[in-house]
């Protein structure tokens, strides 16, 4: 999974630059889709809230639109190796203007499950 982190850097581009980048992005995405390497991705609106606390009692506005850390969108890649995923992330046209892409392997199963199993196994070993 590619997570796009950006700070609204595109607000500083001229109309021509922006149009060029949009075309590049579109071509990039269409090529990956045609190769069967990308599944549909989505951009996210630069608004939202964060829910936290027991029963979700805290609701805060955020992430802030201009934050460098905010996730701007995502793309799920259907590739075999992390090297291939890195190469695809590196070829993303928007990187030339700033921002960064976080790349995360999609888990086969929930990491909580895996950890719970490991702990159970450790306990078994201790009891043997």
């Amino acid at each position: 999974m590619l997570l796009y982190r950006s700070s609204g850097w595109y607000n500083t581009l001229s109309q021509e630059e922006l149009q060029k980048l949009i075309n590049q992005n579109k071509a990039w995405f269409e090529r990956l889709t045609a190769q069967g390497k990308a599944k549909p991705g989505h951009a996210l609106e630069r608004t939202g809230v964060t829910v936290s606390g027991k029963n979700g009692r805290f609701v805060m506005d955020g992430p802030f639109a201009e934050s460098k850390e905010a996730i701007g969108g995502y793309l799920i890649l259907d590739v075999e190796t992390i090297e291939e995923a890195i190469a695809i992330a590196q070829s993303s046209p928007g990187l030339a203007y700033g921002g960064s892409i976080e790349l995360r392997p999609v888990a086969e199963e929930c990491p909580l499950d895996v950890r719970a199993r490991e702990l159970a196994r450790e306990e078994q070993l201790v009891n043997v």
Binding site: M1, Y10, G48, S52, N55, Y74, L103, A107, L112
Partner: protein, 133 residues
């Protein structure tokens, strides 16, 4: 903020460090609750996708496309997984976010409307409108 959005909503689960203090039984309990919650939302047609993410990955950044390790495995901010929701209003999405079984343990759920188009394209339209005004 739009209260109606036909493109749906994304829940981003933040926090990779909250399971440290849990016993194996508690961990198993939260996992079961979380899976049951997701299956129910899928059955109801309210969730259309969702995945946990491996704790560690890479960050690619900047003009030089530098690759670094990250995010750090144990962090309050790191994204642990996501759900894609097919619900009509922000309030519906918020109700679901509040049901997250990880919340009592410190998980934060970010609720974000999915955009109809790339923000670059809407920015361009906005500029064009401004120029023609």
């Amino acid at each position: 903020m739009n209260t109606q959005n036909q493109n749906g909503y994304m829940l981003l689960f933040r926090g990779n460090d909250w399971t440290k203090s849990l016993s194996p039984e508690e961990k198993q309990k939260v996992t079961d609750q979380w899976m049951a919650w997701f299956r129910q939302l899928m059955d109801q047609g309210k969730a259309i996708a969702g995945n946990p993410l491996e704790p560690e990955g890479k960050i690619v950044s900047g003009k030089n496309r530098v690759v670094s390790d990250g995010p750090f495995a144990e962090s309050k901010e790191a994204i642990g997984g996501y759900f894609l929701l097919d619900v009509a209003s922000f309030d519906d999405a918020l109700v679901i976010a509040r049901e997250c079984p990880g919340l009592p343990y410190g998980v934060q759920v970010e609720v974000r409307p999915v955009a109809a188009e790339c923000p670059l394209a809407s920015e361009l339209k906005h500029e064009a409108q401004f120029a023609n005004a």
